[in-house]
Symmetry: C2
Subunit: 192 residues, 2 copies
Amino acid sequence: MAAKFHPNIRLDLALIHYPVLNRNNEIIGSAVTNLDLHDIARAGRTFGVSNYWVVTADKQQQELAAQITGHWTEGYGGTVNPDRANALSLIRICDSLDTLLAELSDCKPLVVATSASRNVNEGKRISYSELRNKLVQGIPTLLLFGTAWGLAPEIMERVDLTLPSVHGPGEFNHLSVRSAASIILDRLLGTR
Amino acid sequence: MAAKFHPNIRLDLALIHYPVLNRNNEIIGSAVTNLDLHDIARAGRTFGVSNYWVVTADKQQQELAAQITGHWTEGYGGTVNPDRANALSLIRICDSLDTLLAELSDCKPLVVATSASRNVNEGKRISYSELRNKLVQGIPTLLLFGTAWGLAPEIMERVDLTLPSVHGPGEFNHLSVRSAASIILDRLLGTR
């Protein structure tokens, strides 16, 4: 579903499960969670995202994600809740950022990271309003979200740009990725 | 935690589990869910909310909410994740909106509903920027969120004001309450 008032917008979103960091700053693969699929797909559909990529290197986790998604898009879930089927039909599963970028080679998107850290990738910073302008101009964009303790340095080094962390008036910095993704989509594509 | 730049802000948030509507427009009590407690507490703490009220008339559901919260604030969870303890310490459990308002009788808050419906309570509409101004002026405010298919009419009739629904550029309207609460707090109290 293209955005109604800006028919040129092409925003893809990816939730990365590998490589991400754990609390000890080590590189891990995190587990796919049901609510990350649902909540971020629902927010993605609300704000006109083109695809919601679920990126995990683990074959069993790929199967789990496909099974959950299939229940809601092709199985019984979609019959009782067509809105949920509509949202979860955004989901595409892939094994790595490289595969994802190969899939998007037709549009060569601007790759933009999100991060909960205030100082990461300072040289590549873009503001929410600047990125909103690029989207409205029709520049294809891929927005990356990390699970666990965030995107691994090897991902952060490869991106073109990075959005500032979402924070409130204080120092507390512990939003769920579901909340962060919802807020960031609203900042980029919301109308009020 | 008071908001850093607006020390006068007093915003309480309530997640109502009874009375709410089901898909057939009947009044029900919905079940407390773990992720509603975590995600909304984390967003509440991020944006400087004073209390996150979990409202359910069911005694067993009250006990479940207290047990989950206690694990993270006083039990093992809080030891391994102090940020989570900090967030979940916002949670207060009560049995009805009447009890909640009695607890807040010292500050007599402006009671503001949220809704996913575009046309509900049109005569009581307030914009996000207008409510933000009231908050910055120090007007105590209680923001209500409904679970399931939304707040029952008997709640909507009692509120002072209602925020517009959160929507994107299209017609799709099926955000999780976790996403909606996160976005609304960012619209009211976020800095960027």
